[in-house]
Symmetry: C2
Subunit: 294 residues, 2 copies
């Protein structure tokens, strides 16, 4: 496995690969790998000639009061795991090479970034789209892999790729979960003691929403209320930042559920901010009306 830190060298490597007409599969990450990451890498390994993984904790996607400094890092372990998964090139650029002193260019996706996590993390998605645009230009992938756990991120990057004519195929793979249902996340390492078990309530609330919808409920407000009630039974959840049911086109709140919807939430378990979501394809059902029946 090739280990590259210099963006120019990575670019040259990718250019050579492209000249050989090989398919590049790319997994951009912030490192501290869990099974979510390795599942992306393993899928890329099956689908591409050359697999490139990047590990870069991107400073510009963290707000001033967020956890950039404490974000977990273990590049040596990430390298080992990448090698074990058959990665061809491991790209771990330095902050100062990605953002030199006079750095001034940003990529913005409007609309899709205004709600959900974008609301509580202003500038976050601007940081994400900017670094992903840079990484895509450096690595020149044919296919790029992202996890469903960061659902809004996936929608935003998909829009950027289409709008800017990047011509990259995006594959969004299912969230990998721990046994209790907790979505795997590098930030789970922050959870202390019983918090990890308590955090499973977030996924349980999503399952509850799914059940309610299966049994005919279509009123988003009612579903969200029941999800909140369930989550509030676990005192370790110190704050629900949002629970939203949105359409998957514009990520706008829906009142009556129908078609494809994203049910997404963010909450703090202790001091740790966690997110989770499910996407459901819901048959629009007309409310029953006895008067119309024969």
């Amino acid at each position: 496995m090739k280990i590259v830190t210099d963006p120019d060298k990575m670019k040259t490597y990718a250019k050579i690969i492209k000249k050989e007409n090989k398919l590049i599969g790319f997994i951009p990450t912030m490192g501290y790998f869990h099974e979510g990451h390795t599942s992306l890498i393993k899928t890329a390994r099956k689908q591409s000639d050359i697999v490139i993984v990047s590990v870069f904790v991107n400073p510009i996607q963290f707000g001033v009061n967020e956890d950039f400094d404490s974000y977990p890092r273990d590049t040596a372990r990430d390298e080992e795991l990448a090698r074990a998964c058959g990665v061809d090139a491991f790209f771990c650029p330095k902050k100062e090479d990605m953002y030199p002193e006079d750095y001034s260019t940003y990529v913005d996706v409007e609309g899709l970034t205004s709600g959900l996590c974008g609301k509580s993390r202003p500038g976050h998605f601007r940081g994400v789209t900017t670094v992903v645009a840079k990484l895509f230009n450096i690595v020149r992938p044919d296919i790029a892999y992202f996890g469903q756990k960061d659902a809004q991120q996936a929608f935003v990057i998909k829009r950027m790729v289409e709008d800017l004519n990047m011509g990259i195929t995006l594959k969004i793979l299912p969230t990998v979960r721990e046994k209790g249902g907790l979505a795997m996340s590098s930030r789970n390492i922050y959870l202390k003691g019983s918090e990890r078990k308590d955090a499973a309530i977030l996924y349980s609330s999503l399952k509850l929403a799914e059940e309610l919808i299966s049994s005919g409920e279509r009123d988003a407000k009612k579903i969200i209320k029941k999800m909140r009630e369930l989550i509030s039974t676990v005192p370790a959840v110190s704050k629900i930042e949002y629970i939203s049911i949105v359409d998957t086109g514009f990520l706008k709140d829906v009142a009556i559920i129908g078609g494809e919807v994203l049910i997404a939430l963010a909450a703090r378990v202790g001091r740790t901010r966690l997110i989770d979501n499910v996407i459901l394809n819901v048959k629009s059902e007309k409310p029953e009306n006895d008067h119309d029946r024969p």
Copy 2:
């Protein structure tokens, strides 16, 4: 010469060219060709295997009160000229294909876009960098050609290309001028009667600045004052929007001229907004001080 309107087809064409390891030279334009454009095309013809020219009057770089609707267009003539210059592919996308209804992604270069034309045309450079990013992704050029006449644009695009790791070589070619010195521009067609002759005063003022600097003047304010005085002798110049002397690193005003400077101006001749500039490399000269002499 291949004529392409569909961005996806253009992308496919460029992809095939790249697989043949041929060098693509690209000239993005808003059409209505003059000798400035053909000089870029002819240079690209000498330096590249495949020359691609785009003609697209980019709506998002025009302000609401600007001349998007009246901007001169003559695609048939542009096509003819392109063919005569040996262009391989002529790309003229439609507005609705470049910006579909749910279009939401924008590329911003901060800092460099705040002064000069950026000050009087808010959003202009955002429109430019966005469309150029799109065109670069569609055409995948190795070299892209721009005219020195739009000096700030060239600096801004250079920064975007570096910041976003686009890996494209930019060539900025000298401004082509009419006999009297007026910089060639598609907008010169707006000039009525004697305005074309009158507009030459703008370049004369730049030449005056050059002469003043040659004869030892280093005070930017004094030079700008003399330029203004000269321009004000021509009543057809209805408004001087700005005359600025800036460094070529950050495009910030300099007080005492030294090193490489851009002297740039925008003015209205009648109702037509025109821009022009020169770049000078000025030896820093210490002001003479008789007391220190032996």
